[in-house]
């Protein structure tokens, strides 16, 4: 990448612009909006984490150690709703994506800065509805809102919760739209498609999914509200509706939503690995195309959530083969990341540890996904803890590890400060072990037949649940640690300089923290990404 002379030191985005709270709440700067999202996401992560902790404490005893059945059902629903829609979906795209996408392609901002701010307000608005539902007594349907339970039988605040998710969905659509237009129209001179960093490819693929899938969710949730409030028969068989129709609609969004969570993680990890290994990514084009392949094929596999739901045998066969096919591009990515390590010069700083952890956990999550794609095995495993373990390996082991790795990697760029490397490495390693101790026993629980969403369970399942809860306490500690030392570094951290990692990429050519306008002069790009020297 050609470097751009920062020229006369412009004030950073943190100090430029209107002072005070108004300067943040009315900002059009993609970097400040990224920070606003980061604050919201951290808040919701803690809320969802508290719910998770309550769940794990409860499951120490076969009869339930902490909560009544009703409270437990509300706790896992809240955990799911918050973690999926208010943490995982926006996590990497809305924070790192917002902050980095324009910098990485050499742009001043995203294409529609006002719309970008509006998406954040939608996110906050949706969050208020969801917290409102919690404060008024909670929701007990599970994050999947299956009908007719959600429309006819649940006595909880379903409508309030679905309105929250409906609203936050539009934030997701607008972010996706913004990113697509930005990548198409605002790339710097010479930054053609195959010179884009893989993180930008990941954002682009994710945005496609956001824009195409989320409207279906919005429609589905509106139909739930319609049926619940007005008794319009859509999903309820007593009114002539079809409950399976809901599941088709819901998973048509919610399966691609998994890729909204994991594609950005793949983008982050590609940046982290190349810098940690100081080497070109192995198979750049395969990496880029495989992300688009995942985004496209990901739209055709939703029925694998419904093998035992009552769809036909032939539907099962079609969705099974497509689910095996969608695993191929993921396998390519894992192999290419590992191949990138070959003949590199590897530094084991914290972001690299997170990236290595991601590869391991994502691979275990992906391999167990093959078991679930095999219809005959899925019959036994679906709706058990095997599935719970599987998607936590992908979403927590994968997406959250990558998110935190990315936060560490770009922390010096975002804040201008260095975080302390020792505690950061310790936390990353602790997280890896805590995670495995929490979720590996859940594979066994599922294999032995423990269904999910059980507040109480037969005694033989206890020892594995205790192991899992013990792991969760370690994991919780590992999650709190970065909050502490990153917070400390905001005040006490050493100044980072523009490029502490000696990384390639346009974002590292500008000062840390970057000036409000990003680049003093429009950058000109003359080579591909990852031109690392050992």
């Amino acid at each position: 990448m050609s470097s751009t002379d920062p020229g006369i030191a412009a004030p950073s985005y943190l100090t430029a612009g209107e002072p005070g709270l108004a300067g943040w709440l009315l900002t059009h700067d993609h970097k400040r909006i990224g920070i606003l999202y980061a604050v919201g996401i951290t808040f919701f992560f803690l809320l969802g984490g508290i719910a998770a902790a309550m769940i794990r404490i409860n499951l120490i005893e076969p009869q339930g150690a902490l909560m009544s059945a009703e409270t437990y059902n509300k706790a896992f629903t809240f955990h799911g709703v918050v973690m999926v829609w208010f943490f995982l979906i926006p996590s990497i795209p809305a924070t790192l994506g917002n902050f980095l996408l324009p910098l990485m392609i050499g742009a001043r901002d995203v294409a529609f800065p006002r719309l970008n701010l509006f998406s954040w307000y939608l996110y906050v608005g949706g969050g208020l509805f969801t917290i409102g539902a919690l404060l008024l007594g909670g929701v007990d349907t599970g994050w999947t809102f299956y009908t007719p339970f959600s429309t006819l039988f649940s006595n909880s605040h379903v409508v309030l919760a679905v309105v929250g998710v409906f609203v936050v969905g539009f934030s997701s659509i607008l972010t996706g739209l913004n990113f697509i237009v930005t990548v198409h129209t605002m790339r710097a001179t010479g930054m053609h498609w195959f010179r884009l960093p893989l993180f930008v490819w990941a954002m682009y693929a994710t945005s496609l999914v956001m824009v195409l899938a989320t409207p279906v969710l919005a429609m589905t949730l509106s139909l739930i509200a319609l049926e619940r409030l007005l008794g319009v028969g859509i999903f309820d068989p007593a009114l002539g509706g079809d409950p399976l129709l809901f599941q088709h609609f819901f998973w048509f969004y919610s399966h691609p939503a998994v890729y909204i969570m994991v594609l950005p993680a793949m983008g982050v990890v590609s940046e982290l690995i190349t810098c940690g290994v100081r080497r070109q990514i192995f198979g750049y084009r395969f990496m880029a195309w495989s992300m688009l392949a995942i985004a496209v094929i990901g739209f055709m596999v939703w029925g694998h959530h419904m093998f035992v739901a009552g769809q036909s045998m032939y539907a099962g066969i079609v969705f099974s083969i497509l689910s095996f096919v969608v695993a191929v591009p993921s396998a390519i990515k894992v192999f290419n990341w590992v191949a990138t390590l070959y003949k590199g010069t590897i530094d084991f700083h914290a972001p690299m540890l997170y990236a290595l952890g991601f590869i391991g956990l994502f691979m275990l999550g992906g391999l167990t996904g093959l078991f679930l794609a095999a219809t005959a095995l899925d019959v036994n495993l679906t709706d058990t803890y095997f599935v719970v373990a599987h998607f936590h390996y992908i979403m927590v082991g994968g997406a959250v590890m990558a998110y935190l790795g990315g936060i560490h990697f770009w922390w010096p760029k975002i804040t201008g400060r260095l975080y302390p490397e020792g505690p950061a490495r310790f936390a990353a390693i602790l997280m890896f072990f805590g995670f495995n101790l929490t979720f590996f026993p859940q594979y066994l629980l599922g294999y032995f037949g423990m269904p999910r969403r059980y507040h109480a369970y037969p005694e033989p399942f206890q020892w594995l649940n205790v192991l899992s809860s013990a792991g969760a306490s370690i994991l919780a500690l590992a999650y709190v640690m970065p909050l502490c030392y990153l917070g400390w570094s905001l005040v006490r951290g050493r100044a980072a300089g523009p490029n502490p990692w000696r990384a390639t990429g346009l974002e590292w050519t500008v000062p840390s923290p970057p000036p409000k306008e990003n680049f003093a002069l429009p950058p000109v790009v003359s080579e591909g990404p990852y031109r690392y020297r050992p």
Binding site: A69, E70, N73, D140, P148, F149, F153, S154, P237, A238, P243, R279, F282, G283, Y284, R285, F286, V308, A309, G310, M313, G316, S320, F324, V328, A331, I332, V334, F335, V338, L341, Y342, K343, G344, T345, I346, L356, M363, L367, L370, F371, A374, A376, L377, V379, T382, D383, T384, F448, G449, P451, R453, Y454, H455, A456, Y457, P458, P460, F461, L464
Partner: protein, 311 residues
């Protein structure tokens, strides 16, 4: 400690064989990748003297290898799994039919001879059993880990599941689809008995058969008032109807199967028989799914030869 999951149905060994094969394959892949990562991380750590010349950044041959080899393996696994899946989805024709009605939060089962159970199901050893299931309220899921079978149970339609128990004993039954407050305690026991013992058990608890009870209901609920042969009301004759084609007022045709008969009782305005006025009252909320099953059994029993059943 949990004892290893028992293999108590005819399909369990085949399913476990596939599971073990996939486990072995996954373990091999995972170990190979971890080993490569470990070796590379040690060998190419900063400061090591390893040779780093000629490091490739792409290779079409390698990329195609690890695209096509996994694809081929996956297709092999898919083929293996589909064979089992078709067996799981195709009940043998001679299977004994037992009806299951799920409701918040219990399992109600009815044997053809009229024997009824709650949160329990007695089945004969070594004989195929087909469960025809429906729900009174929300979606539930009938899950017997020892048999490796699971099937969601939906309101407003019949789903089915079959197994042949191969081991006598008592095996847990779980509800696997979240169904509200007491989902976690919606459990039961599957009791597998040798055939002779099972026959004895059925005898001991014998009452009137399902079809006989259905016939009584047919009169008590007033169905016979309109559908009976002496009726003056213009209503379709139901005797011998099961399995036959019915012409509807909108010009379409349906086969009078379980689902059609169920809907005609509970949602009569949905499908009107050609040539009849829509005067049938809905029995939704007036009778439960168990009674509907009894009525269906009665209507079926009036069909001379065993009809071809549709689900």
């Amino acid at each position: 400690m949990i004892s290893p999951l028992p293999q108590a149905s005819s399909l369990a060994p085949g399913i476990d064989a596939l599971f073990n094969a996939m486990l072995a394959l996954s373990a091999a892949v995972a170990l190979a990748v971890f080993a490569a990562m470990l070796v590379f991380c040690v060998r190419y750590r900063r400061g090591s003297a390893a040779d780093r010349s000629l490091s490739p950044s792409r290779s079409l041959g390698i990329e195609l290898t690890w695209t096509l080899v996994p694809l081929a393996l996956f297709m092999g696994l898919f083929g293996w799994s589909i064979g089992l899946w078709q067996r799981l989805q195709t009940p043998p024709a001679d299977a004994t039919v037992i009806y299951v009605v799920a409701k918040q939060w219990m399992w109600k089962t009815q044997h053809p001879n009229g024997q009824r159970e709650i949160d329990a199901l007695h089945v004969p050893l070594g004989q195929p059993v087909r469960l025809v299931m429906t729900s009174e309220d929300v979606i539930h899921s009938f899950y017997v880990p020892a048999f490796r079978v699971k099937q969601d149970v939906l309101p407003g339609r019949y789903t089915q599941l079959w197994f042949t128990a191969t081991r006598p004993g008592r095996f847990p039954l779980f509800c696997a689809e979240f169904c509200g407050t007491d989902h976690a305690v919606m459990r039961g026991d599957i009791v597998v008995m040798p055939s002779a013992q099972y026959a004895q058990w059925l005898q001991q608890h014998a009452s009137q058969t399902l079809a006989t009870r259905g016939g009584e209901l047919f009169r008590q609920l007033g169905c016979s008032g309109c559908h009976g042969s002496q009726s003056t009301v213009h209503a379709p004759d139901l005797m011998g109807l099961y399995g036959h084609t019915v012409a509807l007022s909108d010009g379409s045709r349906v086969i009078a199967d379980d689902r059609y008969l169920h809907d005609s009782i509970m949602l009569p305005s949905l499908q009107i028989v050609a040539g009849y006025a829509p005067i049938m009252p809905s029995y939704q909320g007036r009778i439960g799914e168990e009674d509907v099953l009894a009525l269906l059994a009665y209507i079926k029993s009036t069909t001379p030869e065993p009809a071809h059943e549709q689900h």
